[in-house]
Structures are given as structure tokens and as C-alpha cells.
């Protein structure tokens, strides 16, 4: 009788735990799964750590919004082997450069008005402590405005530029295609040579104690 009472309580507890796990997993992994799919599609088009100008259909698939009047380029990155450098070259038109982490988090964004120039270089560095690296969800640290430290190893940099009429559209696309993104291996840490302290000769300028007159006399 006692066992009959306990068994449903146990299984109800198990069911509740399963419900909580499924709930949290679904919420937490949905953005990563969606972003992973975008990442894979973009990698298939451009390769990893390489920039490509997207067709309107590809841009729509990446951003979820219509690409009309827009030119998009994307660079899927992986910082496993080093830091990412984005050299973006825009035409003198409205533009935005955004960096997203693989969790879907928006890590950095700058536009033409904020930058004041149309050629920008942005460094994306892997940073953070081991816990941040493992959890992949900490906020980025903005350095001097042109370098950011991110906790997520993978992500996508998205370049957007306003398009104009079809006559100059091709020129704008090829101008944006001059942009590059690349990963440079991190330099090996330089080990400082061991400094052997030199034994200095006694300083002759140091005044010597005067001989004691009485002692001399004695």
C-alpha cells in the first residue's frame, strides 16, 4: 500500500523535472540553433572567416527582413585560431557594421554617422575568463571603439549598405566586395629573458668614515 502511494509521487517528480529541463533547453537553445543554421548557410556560401556579398534571397534568409534597397555582406567567423580583423570598405552611403555571436546576441554595431569615415577596421578578439568562455553568454567588452573582446568563439559579422537604383547597384556591390575579413594567428607569448643583476663596483664617491682621532692616537 505504501509502495503504491510512493510510486506516482516519484514519477510525477520525474515528469516535473523533465518538463523543466525541456522548457529551459527549448528556450535557451532555440536562438543558438537558428543562428547555427544561418552560420552554416553563410559558411557554405563564403567559407569560414571570409566575406561575401549576399544575394537578396540570401540576405533575407540571414536577416529575416526584405533586402529591397539594401546590399548585405556577411562574414561567418571562428576565433579558434586567432583574432578576426574586418576591413570594411563602404561607399559614401548609409551603412552599418554589426557583429553577432552564435547565441544570436548582438555584440557590436556601428554606422556611417558614428564612424565619420567609410573605411573602417574592426578587430574582434576572443577574451574573458574561463567561465565566460565556457558559458559563451557574457557581454562583450568594447575597447577603443575599433576592437571588441567577445566571449563567443563563433558568430557572424553583417555589413549593410543602402542600395540605390540598379544602374549603380552593381558598382556599389563590387565596392562592398572589396571588404575583407580574416583571422590572424595570435602571436606566441614572448618569454622575457632572465635578467641577471650585475654586481656593481662599490661607489667611490661614497664618503668613507673619518678615522677616529682618539683611536689613532691610542
Amino acid at each position: 500500500m505504501r509502495l503504491k502511494f510512493k510510486l506516482p509521487v516519484f514519477w510525477i517528480s520525474v515528469a516535473l523535472v523533465i518538463a523543466v529541463i525541456v522548457h529551459l533547453s527549448y528556450v535557451l537553445f532555440t536562438p543558438s540553433r537558428a543562428m547555427d543554421a544561418k552560420f552554416d548557410r553563410t559558411v557554405a556560401k563564403s567559407g569560414i572567416n571570409a566575406l561575401t556579398v549576399l544575394s537578396p534571397a540570401e540576405a533575407r534568409s540571414l536577416t529575416g527582413l526584405s533586402a529591397a534597397g539594401s546590399i548585405y555582406a556577411a562574414c561567418p567567423y571562428n576565433l579558434r585560431n586567432g583574432d578576426l580583423t574586418i576591413n570594411a570598405t563602404f561607399a559614401a552611403r548609409p551603412w552599418t557594421l554589426s557583429v553577432y555571436g552564435i547565441s544570436g546576441a548582438r555584440l557590436f554595431s556601428v554606422n556611417d554617422k558614428q564612424a565619420g569615415v567609410d573605411t573602417v577596421t574592426l578587430e574582434v578578439n576572443r577574451g574573458g575568463n574561463i567561465w565566460d568562455v565556457l558559458t559563451d553568454h557574457a557581454a562583450p567588452e568594447i575597447g577603443d571603439g575599433w576592437s571588441i573582446e567577445v566571449k563567443e568563439r563563433r558568430g557572424i559579422a553583417v555589413l549593410w549598405m543602402a542600395d540605390t537604383d540598379p544602374v549603380v547597384s552593381e558598382r556599389l556591390r563590387s565596392e562592398l566586395a572589396r571588404s575583407k575579413c580574416s583571422v590572424a594567428p595570435r602571436p606566441e607569448p614572448v618569454v622575457a629573458p632572465e635578467v641577471v643583476p650585475e654586481v656593481e663596483p662599490p661607489d667611490e664617491t661614497v664618503p668613507q668614515p673619518e678615522p677616529d682621532d682618539e683611536a689613532v692616537e691610542g
Binding site: A19, Y26, P31, A34, G64, L65, A67, G69, T164
Partner: protein, 187 residues
């Protein structure tokens, strides 16, 4: 047998509660803007929690650039009727004072999108919009081509409108009144 039923129930409750929580969070992030238009996806970084991030992801969206983009959505015409692909509409408004903006037709399931947007464009940006001398613009929505500013719902049966304003910085509201959407006729 009871244990199997309870485990399956746990799986279902977890899945359903997650999808419901994501939908509710998405709905709570939509705020009335003016008339038929609602602000969407404009939350500050501090307000973006895992549920909201999941709702963007399930829509297939990347988060818009913080403070720069303002997205507005309309599901009905100005009389409150659902937007219908078989009807013709006239959107009228004053050009927003932003560096770039766009009005796009978006389907709930974009299976009806045209393969060639140049043949039947489903969006128009400020660069292509021809405005009148006083800054007013008129935009036709119709399956078939119309002189002047024109976008097409393509083969979509029903659709919604998404207006994207790209501001210079968050301080700029660029607030022109959102446009009106008048139904002209239906086939």
C-alpha cells in the same frame, strides 16, 4: 505504463510551456505606436531576455542594430480589416526624417514570395520612393504593376507590412506620423 505516460506528459508540458512563454514574451514586446502601427523588435539590450531572443530566432530574425533601427508592423488597413493579397491598397504618409527607411510586405509563411523581386518588388526603400514636393509619398500595393511607387504582395494570400526606419543614433526619433493604409478595391 503510468511512468511512461507521466514522462511523455512531462515532455509535452515542457515543450508547450516553452512555446507559450516565447509567444507571450514576443507579444508583450509589441507596443502600439500610432494608428494601426506597432513597434516591434525595438527593445533595449537590457530588456532582451532569453525568451525574447528565442522569439526573434523563431521568426528567423537577427536582432536589429541597437538604437539604430526602429521596426513597425501593421497587420490591418486603416479601417481595421486584415491585409488581403487580392486587394489593392494605397499607403500615404510623410517621409520620415531618417537616413534610410523601407516599407516591406511580409507573409506569415513566405512561400508566396516572388523569386524575382525586380519583376514584382515586395519592398521599397527611401532611395527608390518618389516623394512629392511637400515630402508626402503615395505607395500602391497591388498584384499587378501600377504607375508610380508600387509594391506587390506576389502570390501571398494575406500579409503584413513592416516599416524599417534606420536612424543615425537613438536620440533621433525620426518621427513622422506612420502612414495610413487605405483599401481601394478587391478582386
Amino acid at each position: 505504463m503510468k511512468s511512461v505516460i507521466l514522462i511523455v506528459a512531462g515532455l509535452l508540458v515542457g515543450y508547450l510551456s516553452a512555446t507559450m512563454a516565447i509567444s507571450q514574451r514576443a507579444a508583450s514586446s509589441v507596443e502600439p505606436k500610432a494608428g494601426i502601427w506597432h513597434d516591434i523588435a525595438n527593445d533595449a539590450d537590457d530588456n532582451i531576455d532569453p525568451y525574447l531572443r528565442a522569439s526573434y530566432a523563431s521568426l528567423g530574425w537577427l536582432l536589429p542594430a541597437q538604437g539604430e533601427d526602429q521596426l513597425m508592423e501593421a497587420n490591418t488597413d486603416s479601417d481595421g480589416s486584415a491585409l488581403d493579397g487580392d486587394c489593392r491598397y494605397l499607403i500615404s504618409g510623410k517621409s520620415p526624417r531618417t537616413r534610410w527607411w523601407q516599407i516591406a510586405i511580409v507573409g506569415n509563411e513566405d512561400e508566396g514570395a516572388d523569386n524575382d523581386p525586380r519583376a514584382r518588388p515586395d519592398a521599397i526603400s527611401s532611395e527608390a520612393m518618389i516623394a512629392e514636393a511637400d515630402g508626402q509619398y503615395r505607395l500602391n500595393i497591388s498584384r499587378t504593376a501600377v504607375p508610380g511607387n508600387w509594391i506587390s504582395p506576389g502570390n501571398r494570400e494575406d500579409f503584413r507590412l513592416v516599416m524599417t526606419l534606420r536612424r543615425e543614433d537613438p536620440a533621433m526619433t525620426g518621427d513622422a506620423e506612420p502612414p495610413t493604409v487605405a483599401r481601394l478595391a478587391c478582386d
